[in-house]
Amino acid sequence: MSMIRLEPRGQASPLWVYGAPLLAVALTLASGFVLFWAMGFNPVAALRAFFVEPLTSARGIGELVVKATPLTLCAVGLAVGFRANVWNIGAEGQLTLGAITGGGLALAFYGEGGWWLLPLMVLGGIAGGMAWAAIPAFLRTRFNASEILTSLMLTYVALLLLSYLVHGPYRDPDGFAFPESRLFEEAATLPVLVTGTRVHLGALFALAAVAGCWVLIARTFIGFQIRVIGLTPAAAGYAGFKEKKIIWLTLLLSGGLSGLAGLGEVAGPIGQIVPTVSPGYGFTAIIVAFLGRLHPLGIVLAALLMALSFIGGEAAQIGLGLPKAITGVFQGMLLFFLLGSDVLIRYRVRIGARKTVSQGATA
């Protein structure tokens, strides 16, 4: 028998449900320390530049909220699906479609915008993301095709579609052939909430989504069905819960919220449609959902932490000349450590050989 082994707990440990993410963050920071040292940087200065300095200015905190906004919007939707074992990993594509459809409305009504334009764009963005997520939902419920693979394939298609549009129909007619759309006019731009920062109305959308998803999961019958399907699919079947309905609902919800996130980017901090709308928010949102324990409030905290990794990556790139790719390494490491730490929720780690209870040895 091996020296280190796992022993099942009678029930899930509430301590480690919340302790595991903290342990994972600590292990990630420790690994980051070693990584920076191995790359020849001063690890203390590098970690400071990465995780502390962005938070020392009002502008930095504003940027944190700006980047946490799309992460939260994508992740709360994904988490509802993950609870039901619906693996939408194409949030990046649905986000892109939201930018294409919602942002396309800003271009279609360029110069004629009124108060009605922004609400229309918001609806357009949500509809675009929903439509893109409806394809995997249809293919899964009608043809049994894995939503993991179809939603991811459609992400590549969406990114190519965006590239085609900004090189063609969406391109700024006065833009010297740069692959960019016009700058959105005032009526098509989400209002800034805090002057001096780029925090925009999308942050409130994200908070509303968090509240909405919490109510859905914790307080409605649909939410109950989602949890039962995720935990014990067989029981859900006997209870007569419609799995197909839940697949449709969770994919449309996460697709719509991701589409809203995409609209929020082009109508918010970017202000136009460009070939790269997102630095991978849709993929990072998968990490955010797990780190936040698939719980809406946890997701807000996790989104802020992941937003910090994006901003810290930019800051460390400028300040220390660190490669930008380090952000992805940190994010991947964090998810690895989290998934590893999660074993502590259901199992105890025991060192030493298994105690064999010999019969009659009660003395």
Binding site: L139, L149, T150, Y164, P323, A325, L335, V343
Partner: protein, 307 residues
Amino acid sequence: MSIEVIGPVVAAMMTAATPLLFAALGELVVEKSGVLNLGVEGMMLGGAVVGFAVTVATGSSTLGFVAGAAAGAVLASLFGLLTLGLLANQVATGLALTLFGVGLSSLVGQGYVGHPIADVPELRIPYLTTLPIIGQPLFGQSLPVYLALAAVPAVHWFLFRTRAGLVLRAVGENHTAAHALGYKVIRIRFLAVLFGGAMSGLAGAYLALDYTPMWAEGMTAGRGWIALALVVFATWKPGRVLAGAWLFGGVTILQLHAQGVGFAVPSQLLSMLPYLATVLVLVLISRDVTRIRLNAPASLGKIFYPD
């Protein structure tokens, strides 16, 4: 299309199919053992960048391929440690492996963008390459193309004609029963995962060393995911993986040729074809629920905890 271009087109299709063949055959063995590793894309990128870096450093593409396979296996061992040792969810861990591989490969590879490398040795059989039509596809390819082809019967033979293959399939069908019979479920699965990682690493190394040949961030462009779809398309049978890989190689080459001759469709829309084709074949094969249920390993993706 005139008759002379058929040879080069078929040859190009075979090279485009090669990375898919390596990665899908590796994943097939992993899935046959009951493990679903969605990290193929990340392991391919790891193999690509390490294979490229080692080739630049040593000047030997053979060493590059070996190093690429080793890098894939190292990344796969992280997956194995988490899912088999620490009982983590396989879907989530596979996604984590891909995200980690994407980040780590662009970090390692930043000094190698645009770096030139030596050619991979080709197996050119004199005179035979000049044969009409079949000359170039059959006798004018580089070594890894033949290696990938040889892996098809080799994997089939291993899985269906050897005792070890039988045990591996038993573990994938019913891990509890296999465990009760005394087979080391976790050890067998870990070895399968390592093999899958090495094959993904080879696939990535082939892309960076021979197919492209260069290193660029995210250069696998979804081929790892297409390989995953191919395993389902093939209903877990090695021979059908070959058919699927050639089909995708064909779609890839056709859209490249269409772009080359200035087909009146924007290049981005043509580039969508391999991804749309993946969705299409996945739908065609998956809609037959009975066939999937009969062929999919019964323990696929389930966590094993020895009692």
